[in-house]
Each structure stands twice: as C-alpha cells, then as structure tokens.
Symmetry: C2
Subunit: 218 residues, 2 copies
C-alpha cells in the first residue's frame, strides 16, 4: 500500500467482524509498532496481544463499564447536544462508539499497550499509531481507546497481570478486526484553518482546499 493512502484513510474502524486476524498479520503490526522512535530510545513499552476469547471478554466487559463511566462524566449530555443540534457526524460517531462498547467483548483481537515513564505520551503514541497504520496496510481496522485507562485502570491491569510495582500502566487498548464498513478519508477542517506561518494567527498563504490525497491520486 502507498504511504499516503494509509496516512489519509486510517481512521477509527469500530465495527468489525468476528473473523480472526492471522498470526502473520499480528506479527507485522507489532513489529512495525516498535520501529517508532521513543525518548532516548528507551523502548519503555510492552504489548499484550489478546486473542483468547475469554480474556477478550474480560477486557471488553471492563471497557463497557469504563465507557459508561465516561458517558456519565466527561461526555455527559453529549448525545443530547448532538441531537438538539442535528449534528449528524457526531451522532454517527456516538452510534459506532456505542457499538464498540457493546461488542468489544467479541472482537477477534485486542492489543493492550503499556508504557512507563512517559507522562506526555511522546514515546508511546507514535508506536501505537505505527501499529494502526501497519494494520491498515493489511486491511485490518483498529480503534484507539483510552476509557479503560481512565476508569478501569487497576481492574484491567490486574486481569492481565501487569505489574504496577515496576511502574507499568495501561496506556490504551486497541480494538482490531476486519471492518464491516468502508475505508475513506476522514472529515477534517481545512488545513489552512489550523496552520500558521511564523507566528500565531499569521496565515500560511497557501491555496489548499484539502485533502491533498484522494482515492484517485497517484
């Protein structure tokens, strides 16, 4: 796959089938993940590949609890606001997020990512994103979730035997599988709205309507 196709079309693919992800694809995802840079090349990461259905169910049920906590707190009222505003894009995302909440216990693959000594995330998220891009190249959809880290951290850690005393923590859970929907370029505001030249609020001078890659590009 072309690099830019992957960069432009890797987005949260929450709805996936139960079809297993082959071992060689999982290996490539993980092996690509660890090529990312980390501060001082410390590689302070561990990756739990969860393929046992019982373990997936345990982690998925904890995710559902964490998701519900998130909806009651940080996202309280978000659905009602989207409905009142007729914000179709937010409603679609909320619907697929609810799907993942209800179905994470049955996806074919979870990757639970652990880090330590990385308070800003600068050393773990490039590697996580490498894993998601590598999956995209093999047609595997992924979704980056962090609810469990916020609302069911210790329960998730204990279910997987992650040793807190060595400083390890659960950074994120990546849900993986073959998507039931289609890949496409994600909706984003125009690049010229969020990029400045040399100083805050100074326009770039670019005449770019946006996305510079599309399915028809070479």
């Amino acid at each position: 796959m072309d690099l830019y196709e992957a960069l432009y079309t890797t987005r949260a693919m929450r709805r996936v089938s139960t079809e297993p992800v082959p071992e060689d694809v999982i290996q490539l995802m993980l092996d690509a993940a660890i090529r990312a840079p980390s501060g001082s090349n410390m590689q302070n990461w561990r990756w739990l590949v969860i393929t046992d259905p019982e373990k997936i169910a345990t982690v998925g049920h904890l995710y559902a609890e964490a998701f519900d906590m998130g909806m009651k707190t940080v996202y309280a009222g978000a659905k009602e606001r989207a409905e009142a505003a007729g914000d179709q894009q937010s409603l679609r995302v909320q619907s697929s997020s609810q799907w993942l909440r209800d179905n994470m216990a049955n996806v074919p693959l979870l990757v639970v990512v652990c880090d330590r000594n990385d308070p800003t995330g600068s050393s773990i998220y490039p590697a996580i994103w490498n894993l998601m891009l590598a999956a995209r190249g093999q047609g595997v959809g992924t979704t980056l979730t962090t609810f469990s880290s916020h609302f069911r951290h210790d329960e998730t850690r204990e279910a997987l035997g992650i040793p807190a005393e060595k400083g390890w923590r659960v950074s994120a859970i990546i849900s993986c599988g073959y998507p039931t929907g289609k890949w496409g370029v994600a909706a984003r505001g125009p690049v010229t709205d969020v990029v400045f030249r040399d100083h805050w609020d100074n326009p770039t001078g670019w005449d770019v309507a946006g996305p510079l890659w599309s399915a028809g590009s070479k």
Copy 2:
C-alpha cells in the same frame, strides 16, 4: 513510497542541510498530519510552520538553552555513563543530539505544534507522527523534540504569540530538512521481548528474528 518502508525507516534525522523544503512538500506534511484521529474528533491542534530565518534562529536558540537544561538535569551523567560503558549507539545519538542543539537555529524548517486539553498525548502524537511519516515519503528528515516544552515553554510561546489564556501549549518542536546521512531501519530489541500473549510475561509463541521489513522486501 510503500507504507512499510516508511514505518520501518522513519527515525530521528537530526543532521540536515540548509536546503529549503519546498512549499508543496510542507503543505503535504501538514495536510497529512491533520488526517490523524483525535479524541472526539476535536482536532485541538495548531501548527506553526516556521520558515523565516530570524524566527528559526529565535526558536533554535531557545531550544539550545532548553537542551542544556535537560543535560544538566534529566540527562545528567548520561554521556559519562555511555563513555564508561563503551556504548557506541548512545554516543552516536548523543553526538547527533548535540549537533541539533548547535544547529537548530539554522535548519530550513521548524514545525511548532500546539495542543490543548490533551493531558495524555493521545490526540496530538498520532498527528505529529503522521507529519513525520509524510515528510519521510518526500525524503525530508524530521526529529521530534520536547526539551523546549519542558524548559523554555513560556519563552517559546511568547516568541510565537501563542495565546496561553486559551489553553494552548507547545507540545513539541519538529526539526525538518534534507538529511545529510542515510535512511535505514532503526535498531530495536526483538519484538518477542516486548510482546506478550493474553497475560503479562506469557510468550507469544512467535518465531520472529527481527525486522519483518527490509530494503530488499517487496
């Protein structure tokens, strides 16, 4: 460029020439960056493309000060330890880091990244890494640096007019230019050392010796 070539060969390229990066390449880097996912698709990011030599010098000199602070504190004694241990890889990284400290004021392009409401970095670092991968595809080397965010944050913010009162902060500075060295697969421990199956310390059962992509792979 093939996706996996980019995933396996994008690494810190600190030593760069003074050759300018063309505007269309900069546009593609930024346009690809903002295709990354962010929590609730908030896109809470702003990107300052710094091409004015005076502004680059200002930001680069602040980086040199921040770097020196880092060497005196978090990295105190690191050079002596690497020398005592004969750790050639660390010594090479330290040498190129010193080069960037001495020369950031003269690189052709800096991208200063700002975020807000993203304490874990899960929303900004995928986008930063997209930018670095998109640059790789165009032969542009990048280095992710965070010293200025830790040790010269307010000075950098003020030099660029970043409005603290709206919650914006400097996440990272990405140094960019055409590398004077060669691209290659970065050295990493074996993937089987850092990946477990279903439970901490449980081996994957994989027989994988090492990079699954190399220059000869298709």
